[in-house]
């Protein structure tokens, strides 16, 4: 578990996109961070107080979270000076970068001196079991996508937020780096050994109250040949009661795979439902979540209305419209 509150490290981010991890934390846990740390030339801004390490320490920050990605996911020498100083002052550091904190000798030594922890959230921290398939108490919702990066994490977070707003029991269960940094814990399922993937999801989403929902972050797509195995492990380890179909309507082909077409929402529904019924015969598709950021408002509304009529299910863009209608559908089952 990553200790909050956070100091968001934005480094020398060349633009706001480079700081999208920080933006995710800011959007979904607005109270988790006491401030931001920006170096000379930083072009990102989370609209948080700019703080020195000492000011952040005085404000109670416990973990410096690297909210920015360098090209290639490396830890630049310019950053390292700040990170070493932070560790010596007793900050933990959390990172989702490809280059691991633990592989940097200077950081390891500084963490030792400061008596603090390095969290590489790309690396599994626990010994996960092999999945046993035993039915768990409580309810689970999983977002599945026509493709990778179509808004599955956003959808699960938006649904969790709406549940909280209604005073209902819900937990967002992170399965990727950004999700783990947002919530402070989770399973980086992409990095788990094949035999233990489904078991890691059983571990992530244990027995719970009968009226509690886990909103499980999806990964990959059943139709994306690079990562489909991870998606199926989420479906079988998650044993979802509800599925939300996620899509991005303007993609020309599968992400990173020029020769591969996007599946239809109907194909996704049929495939995901059939596979999910193996683990939970009562699973239902409750709605569609579309990332319509590349459509203007009129086109987005028209697209969603068309999908809704065609599929007979609520279709929303949770960024434009919130997730209320998805939660209505969840409450109806």
């Amino acid at each position: 578990m990553i200790q909050s509150p956070y100091l968001l490290f934005l480094g020398d981010a060349p633009d706001s996109l480079a700081a999208k991890v920080a933006q995710g934390i800011r959007d979904w846990r607005p109270d988790a961070s006491v401030g931001q740390f920006r170096m000379a030339g930083c072009k990102a801004d989370m609209k948080l107080p700019d703080m020195t390490l000492a000011e952040a320490k005085a404000a109670g920050a416990r973990t410096l979270v690297i909210g920015v990605a360098n090209r290639g996911g490396v830890i630049s020498p310019a950053w390292k000076e700040v990170l070493v100083e932070a560790l010596e002052m007793g900050f933990d550091i959390a990172s989702g970068l490809h280059s691991l904190l633990r592989n940097e000798n200077e950081l390891v030594m500084a963490a030792h001196r400061g008596g603090c922890e390095l969290h590489d959230v790309r690396v599994p921290t626990d010994a996960y079991p092999i999945a046993n398939g035993v039915k768990r108490t409580g309810k689970r919702c999983l977002a599945v996508g026509t493709d990778c990066s179509v808004g599955k994490m956003y959808t699960a977070l938006a649904m969790d937020k709406e549940m909280q707003a209604r005073g209902l029991k819900s937990t967002f269960r992170a399965t990727g780096q950004t999700g783990i940094l947002i919530t402070g814990s989770g399973v980086p399922v992409d990095a788990v050994i094949a035999d233990f993937m489904a078991g890691s999801i059983e571990y992530l989403s244990p027995d719970n109250d009968d009226d509690h929902w886990d909103m499980i972050e999806g990964q990959g797509s059943l139709f994306h040949v690079s990562y489909s195995g991870v998606t199926l492990a989420l479906i079988h380890g998650g044993q979802p009661d509800a599925l939300v179909l996620c899509t991005e309507p303007t993609r020309a082909h599968m992400r990173g795979l020029p020769g591969y077409q996007q599946p239809s929402l109907e194909a996704l529904r049929d495939m995901a439902l059939t596979l999910a019924r193996v683990a939970n015969p009562d699973v239902k598709v409750i709605g569609i979540s579309a990332n319509t950021q590349h459509l203007d408002e009129d086109a987005a509304i028209a697209f969603l209305a068309g999908v809704e009529a065609r599929m007979g299910l609520p279709a929303v863009d949770p960024y434009r419209q919130g997730a209320a209608r998805l939660i209505d559908a969840l409450e109806a089952i």
Copy 2:
């Protein structure tokens, strides 16, 4: 690559089942082993010459292969004495046990002294890429099962053997420990990091001659919630041209999952075909391979005839009948 010829180490196997890895090597690569090494009390017999280490060395053996599994997959102290001596004499050692050779200090030191190698075939040896989905030349056949342990490896090996007998181009591609020990190389896909599973299969089965078939060893089952993700990675990384459906007709429930029923062959066919078409739209199911060891001859023949009539595809038990009809079907596409 594990160097042959082998000396098959049977240790103190309490029965022949404990030596099933050795039996697999003996059955499928009858010429790979110069002899067997048995300790006092060994109840297994591969019908190979019993040899001392010195005799095996003189006969040209290069690798001692641990062909026996202890309870819990550990390396017993009784074995260790022999293994140390073998290493000091210059034998490599290959093992598919859960306990790794490389974690035993005595063996590591002896290997160093002998200048030889320890092969833990449960551990991936290469840095696999992320799958790119690009269509590869050559043909591929994948065995998919209604359940785990229904004869997928046996089927692929039997098909490869029949191809060789006909003078056709074929390679068995091992994806599990026993298969790797049989062939001397492969990818232990169960032990690969999730993100690289499909890529490891692309790596295992590269471009080849247009008339060459890879017979890819299947793992798990799309309907087995513990391992289904591995199976889907094999389907999408393997981009098979042909699928063989494997089943064991007497199972009461999914292996290790008392609450889960076996799927029908029709359900397996439809699910596997739909998913396999994502990577290869021309994929076909060419036949059914049933492990009928728990049926008597009449019941087995009746079962196979029933399946064949129902599914409209050749249905054989390759152990009883050979794989000729499966290869006929492969040649017909």
